[in-house]
Amino acid sequence: MIIATFFILAILAIIIYSIFEKGVKSISWEMLTQVPQGGYYYGKGGGILNAILGSLALASGATALAFLIGLPVALYLNVFLIRHKKVINIIRFLLDLIWGIPSIVYGAFGFTLMIFFGIQTSLLAGILTVTLFILPIMIRSMDEIFSTVPIGLQEAAYSLGSNKSEIAFKIFTRQSFSGIVTAVLLSFGRGIGDAAAVLFTAGYTDHLPNGLLEPVATLPLSIFFQLSSPVPEVQNRAYASALVLTLIILLVSLFSRGLGKRYHKTKINF
């Protein structure tokens, strides 16, 4: 067990070290604030602002959409279906199953939908595909939190005459606030880091995102294109982009932890 743990930690450390080591050298202000100029992928000037903004827009949009769909689903499971344990278990099982589907399959599915509806690669198509991809994560992590709401608290609220919607939106969401934040940020992290789901759906562009129906660049794909370049300097820039992506995810998780902790102090303690 100790060996296994250290093995994993060592591998993680090596990945992070190599990203930092190669990334810090080639990261520059220019990279963060400019879009790629002509010939960027062969070593000319410019940056990856298109991908940074594109990824943020895409992941935020998808997270917001997945939250709007996922929250009611998770509440429905835990408040309205309380008398149907079998149905709940089947739904949970299915969600866990689709959680495990590789994101490239979502990408392919999104692509067939796009053909069907006649939409081109665009921010919108990317958002919809990533939403589908992170929905199971969003629902299941909120579901886990909701299932820990004490039955005594539910009884107390029901005994006052609350109906199920009130229990769901006033009691469950308040009691589980920090868990909901964690679920949202976890989904955001998954959404922003995935390349395969956006490969066919969001497309790629050297321009800044402008409009839902235009293609948009994303960091994971930007890393991929830079790594595929024959020029070593550009390959190093890929590591710099990876560093940016890692830092975004790091910030997001630190932020979620901070928020969770702050809320915990005012939470009910038993």
Partner: protein, 253 residues
């Protein structure tokens, strides 16, 4: 139904799968009295209490049959508006469960459910119910704090204030003092005695002394059966059944 009877329980049977938790229960609970349901742990007291406001709905494994009449409405009838019926009963559980909001809002939430919208009215009533639960003087400056910051004894009194705020006629209490220190317990007991003029109180406990101190009526239960019921003088003074005598004598718990 007799004028003096507030709750009439008839042929109540509760099954959890193949185990029968309550066996053919028939009880009359008198108006404006404290009725204590007494018995060793696991005898079905809590389940009986949860049947009264149909919190049993939350437990899919329970199968409830029979009739529980409160002022002519059968609580167990699926066609009754259970959310309305529950508002006739305030609940006090073993451990306090304040709602995840401020002290003030815990009571104000109950008032809102009762249909009180005016701010001024809410203000006045929050104060009134906190006073009734003898909590007001201790927390008057802390109304905007989260309810979880109160001590456990204060939380229990807050839950009482919240329960009273829906303007019930009945108070259901499930071993409400079992998690509390002696002083907080005494507070709750004294409040119950004060409240019984206006409310019908059903108290579940396994503490004999508590039953003796505040009960008007006693229902003694054992393993899902009602063994004996009557006034406190009858049951404690002159128990008819062997089981009751043994329990009161402390031979078994």
């Amino acid at each position: 139904m007799d004028e003096k009877t507030k709750i009439e329980i008839r042929d109540l049977n509760v099954w959890a799968g193949k185990t029968q938790i309550l066996k053919n229960i028939n009880i009359d609970i008198p108006r404006n009295k404290i009725t204590v349901i007494l018995g060793p742990s696991g005898c079905g007291k809590t389940t009986l209490l949860k049947c009264l406001n149909r919190l049993t709905d939350l437990y899919p494994e329970l199968n409830v049959n029979g009739r529980i009449m409160i002022d002519g409405s059968n609580v167990l009838d699926a066609n009754e508006d259970i959310y309305k019926l529950r508002q006739q009963m305030g609940l006090l559980s073993q451990r306090p469960y304040p709602l995840p909001m401020t002290i003030y809002n815990n009571v104000a939430y109950a008032l809102k459910l009762r249909g009180i919208k005016s701010r001024r009215e809410t203000h006045k009533l929050v104060m009134h119910y906190l006073q009734q639960a003898t909590l007001w003087d201790e927390i008057r400056g802390r109304l905007r704090e989260p309810a979880s910051r109160l001590s456990i004894g204060q939380q229990q009194r807050l839950c009482l204030a919240r329960g009273l705020a829906v303007n019930p006629e009945i108070i259901l209490a499930d071993e409400p003092t079992s998690a509390l220190d002696p002083i907080s317990s005494q507070f709750i007991e004294e409040t119950f005695v004060k409240l019984k003029n206006d409310y019908t109180i059903v108290l579940v406990t396994h503490v004999l002394r508590q039953a003796k101190r505040i009960a008007d009526n006693v229902v003694f239960m054992y393993l899902g059966d009602v063994i004996e019921q009557g006034s406190v003088e009858e049951v404690f003074g002159n128990p008819k059944m062997e089981r009751t005598k043994l329990y009161l004598g402390g031979t078994f718990n």
